[in-house]
């Protein structure tokens, strides 16, 4: 969930059509029309990354929307078991935020994918993910899309790379090898703990620290 009071606005006369803003936009809100950047307010999440990126021409500014908008994906009308299944596949608790910045819960993230997000850009436009730091939730987005069986074609301009490498997915022999060589990183103990946690039913898992 994100509350949006602002949107980005291109000053067309300053825009050189360099496409840098298009590449950096996490929500796919920028397209080039007649060689000038154009913002889709319905997708803009006010992350201000395009404003920051346009550091030569300064052609993009932040403007108040006519009315504040709340971008949230309702999960209440979906099958809760399906949400739980997708959260399990993504490795995220449904009642926990997918990252520190925004209060986008695991179940909202699942709902975004179940309601049609097919790319990281769709996911961000629907939920407001990546409007904050823009960095740490990246793998969570890929995990949800992967959990739903969506194969992502990585963009040629490498605006994102589908990376979901995680401790829990490492093979046991690699864990054992690294743990022997570097015992002070506690890979085996952390790995065992995460494997154990995953094997506990969702209901039992709730409570205490997660």
């Amino acid at each position: 969930m994100i509350q949006l009071q602002y949107s980005a606005r291109v000053e067309v006369e300053k825009c050189t059509g360099c496409k840098q803003c298009e590449r950096i936009c996490p929500s796919g809100a920028i397209a080039m029309i007649d060689k000038k950047a154009a913002i889709d307010d319905d997708r803009c999440i006010d992350c201000q990354r395009c404003i920051d990126r346009c550091n030569r021409e300064n052609a993009i500014t932040r403007v108040l929307r006519p009315e504040a908008v709340i971008r949230v994906v309702d999960h209440g009308d979906l099958d809760q078991e399906e949400i739980q299944r997708l959260c399990n596949k993504a490795g995220v608790h449904p009642d926990l935020p997918i990252c520190g910045c925004n209060a986008i819960l695991g179940k909202e993230a699942a709902a975004a994918v179940l309601k049609g997000a097919k790319t990281p850009e769709d996911f961000c436009a629907m939920t407001g993910a990546r409007a904050g730091c823009g960095i740490y939730c990246m793998t969570r987005i890929f995990q949800y899309l992967k959990g739903a069986g969506i194969d992502l074609d990585e963009p040629k301009d490498r605006r994102w790379i589908n990376l979901t490498l995680s401790l829990i997915e490492l093979p046991e022999d690699i864990i054992a090898k690294v743990d022997t060589a570097y015992p002070y990183h506690y890979l085996a103990e952390d790995w065992n703990q995460q494997v154990r946690r995953k094997s506990v039913s969702p209901k039992k898992k709730e409570g205490a620290d997660v």
């Binding site: 793998t139 979901t164 401790l167 690699i174 997660v210």
Partner: protein, 463 residues
């Protein structure tokens, strides 16, 4: 008797922060407590403040004299890799001085002239440009200065636990020099494991790699990832040596250079556990306080006595004790059964933001009053989607004095600690200085006799 509050390092104005304001040290009745008075056994630094940086340059020259540079040939291209937080440590000039010394020494010893200073950023596209201008780096590095950040073109790096992605222009020279600092930041989060390696998974890495490092490992095991990147054949093939600005709560301890990064890392870890460990455990003794953020760059990372504000937020457990798998907040259920972020250290009764950049998330602030000084400053925080809670809940005061009067009223405490970038001493109220002085001897004894032996033993460096 205490000294008057001491002028903190100067700040750089930035598009990411508020207009520069009068420093919090000028608040009435603030004093300075010296780290050397609290912990006389912490070694004197070679630099803590002032214009004379000659000791930094000499220390760098001296340590670099004994490092093997024979791999670098006159026609080679060498990337001198700098990272963002170095420019936050005691005002940033010591770090720049070390970088200059490295460039000059490599030129003198190898005949190589093509040394490119790479200026790392956290996330903003204007960060590096601002740093380059502020420190006049183009002039000081013969025009060969380049910014880099997490969105730059990637290079896949094959590690023993899988493929991750680094920044191509960081690793595309013939050689790189890991020109770092010992990262005295989130001591709770990184558990004091492998501080010397961290930039391999942050500054030098793409955003996706930074993401898995933060989200997909435990807070002990995540520290293997930068080591795995460093150990990868691709990175090793380009690695020349490391030169690290080492710190203690007193200031810049020394400059340490070595090709053996593991050895360097062990020296840092031992020193950090003993020195930062004491100040950190002392912060745990603070029973109630008002924390004032008054520095450049991100508020979370502003130092007081060398220790960042983020550490005070999370100091209730002992994060150096590796037998505890989970030493930072995380989330838990409240009495109503709702999951929420674990609140920050309850001793922090209020936070006053005099000047600090937004852009980094603070979790667990729901029960802590926050007052932001200055309308322009508050506007920045209200625009910050990293902290929607702060935008909603923080009060705004027209200036610092009004903000302080408000928090004195709310908290009924006069214990104030100012995070203003200082190493070597802590600017604070007299009552806070009294508390720190009273508690320090017991903390020192406990660390020396009980905690330090355990911390060292847990990391295999107790011999």
């Amino acid at each position: 008797m205490y000294n008057a509050a001491i002028e903190p390092p100067p700040l750089m104005e930035s598009v990411y922060g508020p207009k520069l304001k009068t420093r919090a040290m000028h608040l009435p009745n603030m004093v300075s407590v010296a780290i050397s008075d609290l912990f006389p056994d912490i070694m004197s630094p070679i630099y803590a403040y002032g214009d004379d940086l000659s000791a930094i340059y000499s220390a760098a020259e001296s340590t670099l004299s004994s490092v093997d540079m024979s791999m670098i040939k006159p026609d080679d291209t060498v990337k001198l890799l700098s990272s963002e937080h170095g420019f936050s440590i005691v005002g940033g000039e010591p770090y720049v001085k070390m970088l200059e010394a490295i460039k000059n020494k490599v030129q003198t010893r190898t005949g190589c002239k093509n040394i490119k200073l790479m200026v790392g950023a956290y996330k903003g596209f204007r960060e590096a440009d601002e740093v380059i201008d502020y420190y006049d780096l183009k002039n000081r590095f013969d025009g060969k200065v380049y910014g880099y950040g997490p969105y730059d073109k990637d290079i896949p790096i094959e590690t023993e636990i899988g493929t991750v992605y680094g920044i191509k222009k960081v690793f595309d020279g013939d050689w790189f020099i890991h020109s770092y600092y010992d990262d005295p930041r989130e001591m709770y989060f990184h558990r004091m494991i492998d501080r010397a390696y961290k930039s391999f998974v942050m500054s030098y890495a793409r955003l996706e790699t930074r993401s898995i490092y933060h989200m997909n490992f435990g807070n002990r095991s995540s520290n293997f990832l930068p080591r795995a990147i460093f150990n990868s054949p691709q990175v090793q093939k380009k690695y020349a040596f490391s030169c690290i600005m080492r710190t203690s709560p007193m200031g810049i301890l020394t400059i340490d250079a070595d090709r053996d990064l593991n050895g360097l890392n062990n020296r840092i870890t031992k020193s950090h556990l003993k020195t930062f460990g004491k100040v950190m455990r002392l912060f745990n003794e603070i029973d109630n306080c008002i924390a004032v953020l008054d520095g450049g760059r991100w508020g979370y990372y502003i130092h007081a006595g060398g220790v960042i504000f983020g550490v005070l937020m999370a100091v209730r457990t002992d994060p150096f004790d590796l037998s505890n798998p989970k030493a930072l907040g995380g989330f838990r259920k409240n009495k109503k059964g709702e999951l929420g972020a674990v609140p920050i250290n309850p001793a922090i009764k209020a936070i006053v933001m005099n000047q600090a950049w937004p852009g980094i998330n603070y979790n667990g602030l729901e029960n802590t009053p926050i007052i932001i000084a200055g309308e322009d400053h508050a506007d920045l925080w209200k625009a910050d989607h990293c902290n929607p809670f702060i935008a909603k809940a923080a009060e705004t005061a027209p200036d610092l004095e009004t903000a302080m009067n408000r928090v004195y009223e709310i908290t009924q405490t006069d214990k104030v600690i100012i995070f203003d970038g200082n190493f070597g001493h802590i600017n604070c109220s007299r009552s806070m200085a009294d508390l720190l002085k009273e508690k320090a001897p017991d903390v020192s004894r406990k660390v020396d006799e009980e905690l330090l032996p355990m911390w060292l033993q847990q990391r295999g460096i107790d011999q």
